[in-house]
């Protein structure tokens, strides 16, 4: 064999391919199939990386004593009884709500279907707040689906592979969504800061009635997130003389850093889905 062929041509081919891939990925939806195909090949890596966590959980489950299991079982049964009682009331309220909305000629929010998924990975890049879940388009996960835990919203699916999906968290610096204060209905834009548990409200006038401890719920504007789920609580409000807007920080109600399972909400069919809520705003 002689010396390797001149690699310069191959480098040029690779560079051109890389630049085409970047442009396609950023500007068009055509890179989707490539991502989908490679996503099927990368999913096993995420599954294997999650194995130590899984087996640790399995071991601790096996090591629990009978009495503590019985205790837990009793506690959960009591809790489920209380929750079932609440759900009974909810069915009546929901029916009433639908009737009232029909009277007002507005469309009814139907009860959404949910799918449970397990978190199998976190993004290793500190610049991004994303996580990987073990359900993909094989389980009817689609891009744009809202993801929540028992306490509130976590984020949305940004990439659905065949076996796993990638979820963009509320706290990512490129994420923003529309929320309103539960107490009085004041609307604002909630943006991530890139820090775990850090959110801020953008462009809120100094005089707006927002206080520490207020609950922010999703508005459903932008048609990305369902309406009325808790999103965050206000942690601090600072008024600075001279600044046009108040400086307001919030913390997600969902326990993003501790959750191991999440719920995916199946969107109810909407007449149109025009504007995405993900913005490039940082």
């Amino acid at each position: 064999m002689t010396a390797p062929a001149n690699p310069l041509y191959r480098l040029l081919i690779a560079l051109v391919l890389a630049i085409i891939a970047m442009v396609l990925d950023q500007r068009t939806p055509w890179a989707g199939p490539v991502r989908y195909f490679l996503g099927g090949l990368t999913a096993p890596i995420h599954y294997i990386a999650h194995l130590p966590v899984d087996s640790g959980e399995w071991l601790s489950e096996q090591a629990q004593s009978r009495s503590s299991l019985l205790d837990e079982n009793r506690r959960l049964q009591r809790k489920s009884l209380i929750l079932e009682q609440k759900v009974q009331r909810l069915a009546v309220l929901e029916a009433e709500n639908v009737r009232l909305r029909e009277l007002l000629n507005s469309s009814a929010d139907l009860d959404a279907n949910v799918l449970v998924a397990e978190i199998i990975g976190l993004d290793a890049d500190p610049n991004r707040q994303e996580l990987i879940i073990n359900k993909g388009s094989g389980s009817q996960v689609i891009t744009g689906q809202a993801v929540l835990d028992a306490q509130g919203l976590i984020g949305q699916v940004v990439e659905a592979g065949p076996l796993s999906s990638r979820v963009l968290l509320l706290t990512d610096a490129s994420h923003a969504m529309s929320v309103q204060v539960n107490r009085n209905g004041v609307r604002a834009v909630l943006a991530g800061t890139g820090q775990t548990g850090g959110l801020r409200l953008l462009y809120v006038p100094d005089t707006a009635d927002i206080q520490e401890g207020d609950l922010l719920v999703s508005t459903g504007l932008g048609q990305r997130y369902p309406r009325g789920y808790p999103v965050a609580t206000i942690t601090s409000v600072r008024h600075q003389s001279g600044a046009a807007f108040a400086e307001i920080t919030a913390r997600p109600t969902a326990r993003i850093d501790r959750a191991s399972h999440v719920l995916l909400v199946q969107p109810t069919p909407q007449p149109e889905r025009s504007s995405a809520e993900v913005s490039d705003e940082g």
């Binding site: 690699p7 690779a14 391919l17 970047m22 990386a49 890139g194």
Partner: protein, 163 residues
């Protein structure tokens, strides 16, 4: 006469997949800063030992795999990895006669420049948060683990006959 037919492509791919596993294995948040670029290190090892087989296009496809694995812009690492493989193809004869310290310095510079390229792409799509000097930590970590990785891959290469 020596047998020069290519062999052991499967083993080569498996080492790359193991490196991919190390890229995503969960670590504490602070340890993420010093996570070495495992896939790039393994790729560079194979380019240096098998320059006739593993080259720029391998770099490109490994980089593309890394893009999907880490959820980066498609082509972000593909660009850097193919350039890294190209530089190593030009320098593989020199790398073989370098001392350990010189090799580590080259790896530090190579991982640093490839990461910087990826950072520039990420910056262009507005997905960066921390200043670019944070690349130095992972580049330094890569230089530190370079020799052990080399020794391990050398053993794999001899044990499973990759050529």
């Amino acid at each position: 006469m020596r047998d020069d037919r290519p062999a052991g492509t499967g083993v080569l791919v498996v080492t790359l997949l193991l490196a991919a596993l190390l890229e995503v294995i969960p670590l504490p948040e602070t340890a993420n800063w010093v996570r070495p670029e495992w896939m790039l290190l393994v790729l560079v090892y194979w380019v240096l030992t098998l320059p006739r087989r593993v080259g720029v296009l391998w770099g490109f496809f490994v980089g593309l795999y890394m893009d999907v694995l880490t959820g980066a812009t498609l082509g972000q690492w593909g660009l850097g990895f193919s350039l890294g493989a190209f530089i190593m193809l030009l320098a593989y004869k020199r790398m073989r006669v370098f001392t350990v310290l010189q090799q580590c310095a080259v790896i530090f510079l190579l991982v640093g420049s490839v990461s910087l390229l990826a950072y520039l792409v990420q910056e262009a799509v507005g997905r960066t948060l921390y200043p670019p000097y944070t690349i130095l930590y992972s580049s330094l970590a890569s230089a530190v683990v370079w020799r052990p990785v080399c020794a391990l891959l050398r053993w794999v290469q001899l044990r499973f006959i990759v050529r």
